[in-house]
Subunit: 377 residues, 3 copies
């Protein structure tokens, strides 16, 4: 009576996605936390969020709470947010003013801004306690693009091969991104999204534009080729061209803001997008950068923090950024809504063996291969 | 000091219930979803809820979301609520107005009202994609008693042997129910109950009347024999007789509404009840039908949707149904409260081997045998 | 790049705590419920909470709901809160007025105040049902210090060896506690705390005073030696002496209330504390007793109920107890806040092998040995 339609082998036009369980299984998610988010470089905070020595922000990296801060020389530092004595969290929330030491609120164990234990009640009576050995456990840090990237792994992978490698794969060479001088820009707007969907659905959504005609009317107005479903990320260094009538990357195609000075003539009317696995999207347009960081919380819950970055003069002048911010804020809202409405089906029997990828989405299969490889090594 | 009273073998008057874990264990509940609710016929929606072609309502059947609708010829149809492309839910909530197609909101894959894939971006460039093979996965449907029943199993069991078989077991022959012409009635009132108890506690409660004297003062006033604890369902085709002073099946025994024309003289002052496993209760009185459908959510959570059905003329006339509805609404509230106060003890060590059934409840043991058999086959 | 600091063996000044998983793992918590809270004597309610025959209070003991009450002779009684018929909870909440029987609200099975089944519908037709065999299952009880202690184990351990044994270990002899005549005192104030932390963190916190200088400014003002981190519990029968200027155990050192008459000269200006594993803290000062009972709910959630006990005349007179109560209420708040901020780090990789105990905390290791032994026997 019911024909098992899934038994039919897939035609050549279609590739299979991951099975539904990859998006719902708590054990798979725990494995992703351990083998992806706690092993790879993770883009943590904007450098300006912790501008001065002792300023800090605490963030979740995989299952760990991490303090991101700066030492007395202004060098970025990150620590596991765990006192080495009895484990109380040393810091909570954020503090932009900066403090001179990190002191645990429980028994007053006190660490300097490089994490070394410098004081504790009766510490002088425990001469065998080495102050470096019992310092805050360090987390590897790297500043790039004006963000502090961290890695909680004992042996971080090569930043150049992994993070920069993604940029090379996408743009051909890192210099094509360097021209935007992202590290010199200022935050014009930050929006945090609470998305009830698996992090991989968000990446898959970002990787393809087959959905653009259906859910992104404003974006396809600005970037007409997106209506054809061509992913900006499908070809090396391809940028999507603004429509003929479009004056800027804004919700209504009106003029945007001051152009980033390093942007070349070939990039001046184009949109580029880069996915830096596992949790960063970089969107480049001539007058600003839209920078997404994902924080996976559970198999069906992901926090996404998105920064809109402009020339400091644009932000300082108090210009109205509404039309500029609104375009990608609407795209984000449309995308995350789609992901949230996709998540429930991941546990259906119909999706047990996954769904299908059409030719315009075939490159997503490479992301699936990567995820599988990360979990099995 | 503490005597293990459970070690005593049960006297002949008492039968054992299921062990407490049957009502609390997540694995047992998952097995029930798989082997009972996703294998058997499930009463989904009132036919009038989806009156016209393309009208739909989405419901949970076991762990699946199902779209219940009608095709262009008005024939009932049901589908897994999962786009065959990337899995987004095709429909949400309900729509009584009716639509011409089902279109996925993500990439615009579009299906006709029989579920066949009829359009998708670039579909013409994928000639190898068979439109029937990639149509919405069909769910078996059957209309009966004015309800649309569905079965998400690949091989549905015989409707006659299972659903109708329950009616025969209870009433001797289906014609005793047919006389009420339940399919011709209109919904006078619908109440949805959120019950924090296992679905089996609700069935066991419905199957016995040993509790009636204690918790149903209004019902035993109308049906005096219930005060003796006699279950209406204990004997084939037994109906509980109204009290001598009782004029109708109402909260105060006052006159009810127009009698259902097919009801025979022998049924004219009686209440009958049928349990159609696994999730339907049918209550028949001379002037209306009270029809319960259960939707199990988790081991300790069940949604119950209850319809009060009257002759269309009664509903259209705008008559005050309060006294009529209130009687069984109060019974429902009393029963579900009892189930909710029973649920916590299911995890007690005292209930590890279950409780006991007195003679007036012995027929519940057959329900337990059925549940055990369903899980082991 | 990252040095595995945990690989370094601990110096002699430091002992290891339990591993982080001991505070987060659901299986370990379930094992603690079974092998500690459901095996040992558990301090349930103040005797005056159930002052008259048939008065009751329902409480959670491990994973069980227990009714604590008194029989017609006023003798303390406790029962599993599970009807022996179909399992409904017999009682909910509390009732200080007292009732003559316990009647189940579902099918009216009725038990006397000793738990014997005395009535049920049709019970006379079931002569083979023994009324004692099917009575409420009894829980062992014992009154001591004006509290009703219960044990849900089939074979309770010796009260003298376990509960009194803790007092002897701490005070040298029970008579040192008897002098406070705790059973004669009245409740001046009761505060219930909802603590989002593992119960063992709360015990460990109570056992040491290394944190006192950091988080308890008011307490160290009253008990100056606490500023040195000396645990009151570290030495047999040691009491912490009030500061020279201190007139009473109050938030501002002002005079307290009427002294407990049995308190000796040696105890008159001292604070003593006893931990009665697994869930009681007794704090003794000259004019009152502060008595904590913990109810563990989940690995990271514990309810703590704290009574301030005074001479009945003090309570009856309506004296203002604010300054007296406020001191330890503030201590409780400070301690529970510390525990809540410690809980999150228990799941960090950094705490996988636990934290460290300094010499002033070394006695906590004995608590860890005890917990380990309880779980493995």
């Amino acid at each position: 009576m019911i024909i098992d339609q899934l038994a039919t082998p897939l035609p050549g036009s279609l590739l299979s996605t991951l099975p539904g369980s990859a998006y719902t299984d708590a054990a798979i998610f725990a494995s992703e936390q351990e083998k992806i988010f706690e092993k790879m470089w993770f883009c943590a905070v904007r450098a300006s969020d912790v501008a001065v020595p002792g300023a800090f922000r605490t963030i979740a990296v995989g299952r760990e709470s991490v303090i991101v801060s700066r030492n007395r020389k202004g060098k970025a530092r990150a620590f596991f947010n765990v006192c080495r004595h009895r484990g109380m969290q040393i810091c909570s929330g954020e503090d932009s003013a900066g403090r001179r030491t990190f002191q645990c609120g429980y028994h007053a164990w006190t660490y300097d801004l490089d994490g070394v234990l410098i004081a504790a009640p009766n510490l002088t009576k425990m001469p065998d306690v080495d102050r470096a050995d019992h310092g805050l456990r360090r987390v590897a840090v790297r500043e790039w693009l004006g963000y502090i990237w961290v890695c909680v792994a004992d042996e971080p992978p090569s930043f150049d091969e992994t993070v920069l490698g993604e940029v090379v794969d996408r743009l051909g060479e890192v210099s094509n991104l360097d021209r935007y001088a992202v590290d010199t820009l200022a935050i014009g707007r930050r929006i945090v999204y609470d998305v009830k969907a698996n992090w991989k659905l968000i990446i898959e959504n970002f990787m393809e534009c087959y959905h653009c005609a259906t859910i992104h009317p404003e974006l396809t107005e600005v970037l007409p080729e997106f209506a054809d479903g061509l992913a900006a990320q499908a070809f090396v260094n391809h940028g999507a061209e603004f429509g003929a009538e479009i004056k800027g990357f804004t919700i209504d195609g009106s003029v945007g803001h001051d152009l980033l000075p390093g942007v070349g003539a070939d990039q001046a009317r184009k949109y580029y997008a880069i996915t830096v696995k596992p949790q960063v999207f970089i969107n480049m347009v001539p007058d600003h950068i839209i920078f997404h960081r994902m924080y996976p919380v559970s198999p069906d819950h992901t926090i996404v923090e998105c920064d809109w970055l402009y020339l400091p003069g644009v932000v300082e002048s108090g210009q109205d950024l509404t039309a500029s911010v609104e375009l990608f804020h609407r795209v984000n809202s449309q995308d995350f809504d789609a992901c949230e409405r996709t998540q429930p089906a991941m546990s259906s029997r119909v999706y047990r063996d996954g769904g299908v990828l059409v030719p315009a989405e075939h490159h997503i299969a490479l992301f699936h291969v990567w995820q599988q490889r990360m979990l099995t090594t």
